[in-house]
């Protein structure tokens, strides 16, 4: 059986500069992978390329998702197929109520998959349930998307969307940055609730602490555009002790 996500020897350039130099990563259904690594090592770049953000030039390698060539798909097509990226910096969309946004996006995805749209009561019920479990007040959903949200609220809103869209691959880019302890626990609980044998997660983080809440099956260390070491969850603890310096040479 093929992997859910298969990144093979990926090379990526941004503005003539190569950022990823042949990165490989295999993620199977049901697994949680953590990616760690120093600032600027290319973690967000990898997540953007998987999600299809414009501005990146793939000069080599391939990405297969459920056995299909992901790089051939438009980003909205990838979303409908189950790729979800929780952004490191979620944007604000003034004037577009969060509720409207959620519904428009959810129904766009369902439509793209040939599924029927949610009825209003079903949709509302679902959003309310998920929002309550994440401690998101209804009032927040009436506001513009992320407008005036605190850092923690923005991140919770990302988890809310993840729960709502039920993607098969969740990439969380520094979900823990800017969250206080309580907010982190709530968000992590939300993520853990979504763990299933049908779904995989790629958790990008700088801190072991998040991995105490979301316990990974695998940990990868990225440095200078490559995966330089992979291991079990104990690798994260090791990193906490020794830092990234030991990998710098290997990456060069």
């Amino acid at each position: 059986m093929s992997a859910l996500l298969e990144v093979r020897n990926l090379q990526v350039r941004v503005e003539e500069r190569e950022i990823l130099h042949g990165l490989s990563l295999t993620v199977n259904k049901g697994e949680v992978h953590a990616i760690m690594g120093p600032n600027g090592s290319g973690k967000s770049t990898l997540s953007h390329v998987i999600a299809g953000k414009p501005g990146y030039e793939v000069t080599g390698g391939e990405i297969l998702f459920k056995g299909e060539d992901l790089l051939e798909m438009d980003p909205d097509e990838r979303a409908a197929k189950g790729v979800f990226l929780a952004f490191q910096y979620p944007v604000e969309i003034p004037g577009v109520a969060t509720m409207t946004f959620l519904r428009t996006a959810l129904n766009a995805q369902r439509k793209a998959r040939g599924e029927s749209e949610y009825s209003t009561p079903d949709f509302l019920k679902k959003v309310r349930e998920v929002a309550a479990s994440l401690n998101i007040p209804q009032e927040m959903l009436r506001r513009g998307v992320n407008v005036g949200f605190s850092g923690g609220e923005k991140k919770r809103n990302e988890v809310l969307q993840m729960a709502l869209f039920e993607p098969s691959l969740c990439i969380l880019d520094e979900m823990d940055s800017g969250l206080d302890i309580d907010a982190l626990r709530i968000a992590a609980d939300g993520v853990n609730a979504l763990r299933s044998s049908e779904r995989a997660m790629v958790v990008i983080t700088h801190y072991q602490r998040l991995l105490n809440y979301i316990v990974p099956d695998f940990v990868h260390v990225m440095s200078k555009g490559r995966v330089v070491k992979s291991g079990g969850k104990e690798l994260a603890l090791e990193l906490e002790e020794s830092g990234y310096a030991q990998f710098e040479d290997q990456a060069a």
């Binding site: 999600a51 299809g52 953000k53 414009p54 501005g55 438009d74 980003p75 909205d76 979303a79 409908a80 979800f84 990226l85 952004f87 910096y89 979620p90 944007v91 604000e92 969309i93 003034p94 004037g95 577009v96 409207t100 946004f101 519904r103 428009t104 996006a105 959810l106 129904n107 766009a108 995805q109 793209a112 749209e117 513009g144 969307q161 869209f165």
Partner: protein, 499 residues
């Protein structure tokens, strides 16, 4: 279904460069010969069976017009208009005066149907309007429609109920016959015949338009609405609208326009005059989506409009709301003269340009009375190779003590081949006036678009959503049913704006 979803669907269905309203109604029309002369002015006046004073009024305007120059200060560029190469009168042929819609030429009704008017109007004409999902236990909203087909109003609905309330709502040509004193008292008192080149031309040759009079203390029982439509080849459309809200009255009026696709450019020079007496309020909303020209910048309507409201009485209020998505050239500055003490003027505008459209639009708030206030919220969106200019004037007269203005002009650029410009003029002749001005120009953010696309929206749906968010403050000023339509229109007009 929520408006956004509908928008999204609608956008999906429509091909780029395909104007939905591009068709032509084949009705025999009765036309005056091409060109403009005193004889043509006389012909128009005679056709309308007008009183002698009206003819004189027109002729005076015509003579004046001959001495005037077309203005060149706006940031618009178009080939010279040959005023002798246009038709100035064209009326659908009809045998007798019409009593009801049943008698209207089915071809015309079909045209309205294609226009999408029946989406709402079929219900309205049947007497019930209750937009789905908006049933908050309120009385159903209703709209009376006075349809101006080319130059002649073909049907007016809801007359009876309006009559009961004492509201006069009819084609101005009829008002000239039935209420000549009222028309004579107010016509040209806000926009004088000598006002500007296009307004003067309109005064000489206007063919029809709407007339509204709301008597003292009356709250007009429904929204009044007119649909204009340019159909005849090379017919200039010159409507004239006159709305008077007498003391303590209220009226909300909506004008919506569409025109069929054309290769030749079509001239449109309307004049709208609003008069609010003591404690009266007029809310005037426009949704304009005339043919903007094709993707090479060919064709499209030239829209040179003079709209002005006079807050003549104390505590009166005039509010302009416009959604401008069409026309090749837009030259339009709905303004308020704040004459009465404590009067208030508002201007809410969404101006969208795409392709090769050129928009030069804004407002003037002229503070004459004491403690007058005004508010300007302008949202300009430029896409494609279009140019979008906000031009505004806020002035306070020496006696306008305590006057206040707040202006916010936001421009959004989509792509890098378009331009947005803001040209605000401020003149305060007394030191107690307080004018605030805010302006922003931003490019539509790639990060925001990607965020939406990552959540499953197509690139175009994402642009539509972001733009609708950008203009939300203004959309909220529109009557509910029109806001929904305007929202669709905005997305449609941004078709093909992203690569």
């Amino acid at each position: 279904m929520p408006a956004e979803l509908e928008t999204v669907e609608r956008v999906r269905r429509i091909d780029v460069d395909q104007y939905r309203y591009g068709f032509e109604t084949i009705i025999e029309s009765e036309k005056a010969p091409k060109g403009l002369s005193e004889d043509i002015v006389r012909f128009i006046s005679a056709k309308k069976d007008e009183p002698e004073w009206m003819l004189e009024w027109r002729l005076e305007a015509y003579r004046r017009w001959l001495t005037m120059q077309e203005p060149t200060w706006a940031r618009v560029d178009y080939p010279k208009i040959d005023y002798q190469d246009l038709y100035y009168y064209s009326a659908p042929k009809q045998k007798k005066a019409l009593a009801s819609l049943d008698e209207v030429d089915p071809e015309i009704l079909k045209t309205y149907e294609k226009l999408g008017i029946p989406l709402r109007e079929q219900e309205i004409l049947a007497g019930v309007v209750r937009p789905e999902g908006e049933t908050d236990g309120e009385a159903p909203r209703r709209v009376a429609v006075d349809a101006v087909f080319d130059s002649v109003s073909v049907a007016t609905t809801f007359q009876a109920e309006l009559k009961k309330a004492g509201v006069i709502f009819m084609p101005i040509s009829h008002a000239l016959r039935e209420h000549p004193d009222l028309v004579r008292k107010y016509l040209g008192t806000v926009v004088p015949t000598s006002d500007n080149f296009f307004a003067t031309l309109n005064s000489a040759v206007f063919s029809d338009g709407s007339f509204v009079y709301v008597p003292p203390g009356v709250r007009c029982p429904m929204e009044l609405s007119t649909y204009f439509r340019i159909n005849e080849r090379n017919t200039g459309q010159f409507e004239r609208t006159l709305i008077i809200a007498d003391k303590g009255s209220y009226v909300s009026y909506l004008e919506g326009c569409t025109a069929p696709q054309r290769d030749e450019n079509q001239l449109h020079a309307a004049v709208v005059e609003l008069i609010a007496l003591d404690d009266a309020e007029i809310k005037y909303s426009t949704v304009q989506n005339w043919y903007p020209g094709n993707s090479e910048g060919k064709g499209g309507v030239y829209n040179f409009v003079t709209k002005r409201g006079d807050c003549r009485g104390k505590n009166s209020k005039i509010s302009w709301t416009q959604v401008e998505t069409g026309s090749a050239i837009t030259w339009k500055y709905p303004s308020c003269i704040l004459r009465g003490d404590n009067s208030r003027g508002e201007f809410y505008s969404i101006a969208i340009s795409n392709g090769y459209q050129q928009v030069d639009s804004g407002t003037k708030m002229i503070h004459l009375g004491k403690n007058t206030t005004s508010r300007i919220i302008s949202k300009g969106i430029a896409a494609g190779k279009s140019q979008n200019t906000y031009r505004g004037l806020v002035s306070a007269h020496r006696k306008a003590t305590g006057s206040r203005n707040f202006t916010a002009c936001d421009s959004l650029l989509i792509g890098d081949k378009c331009g947005a410009h803001t040209v605000p003029y401020v003149e305060a002749k007394n030191s107690s006036a307080l004018f605030e001005h805010e302006a922003t120009t931003s490019k539509i953010s790639e990060d925001v678009l990607f965020y939406c696309v990552q959540r499953g929206l197509s690139q175009e749906e994402a642009v539509g959503l972001v733009v609708n968010g950008f203009v939300r403050d203004v959309l909220q000023q529109l009557p509910m049913e029109f806001a929904v339509e305007a929202q669709k229109l905005i997305s449609i007009s941004l078709e093909g704006s992203v690569g």
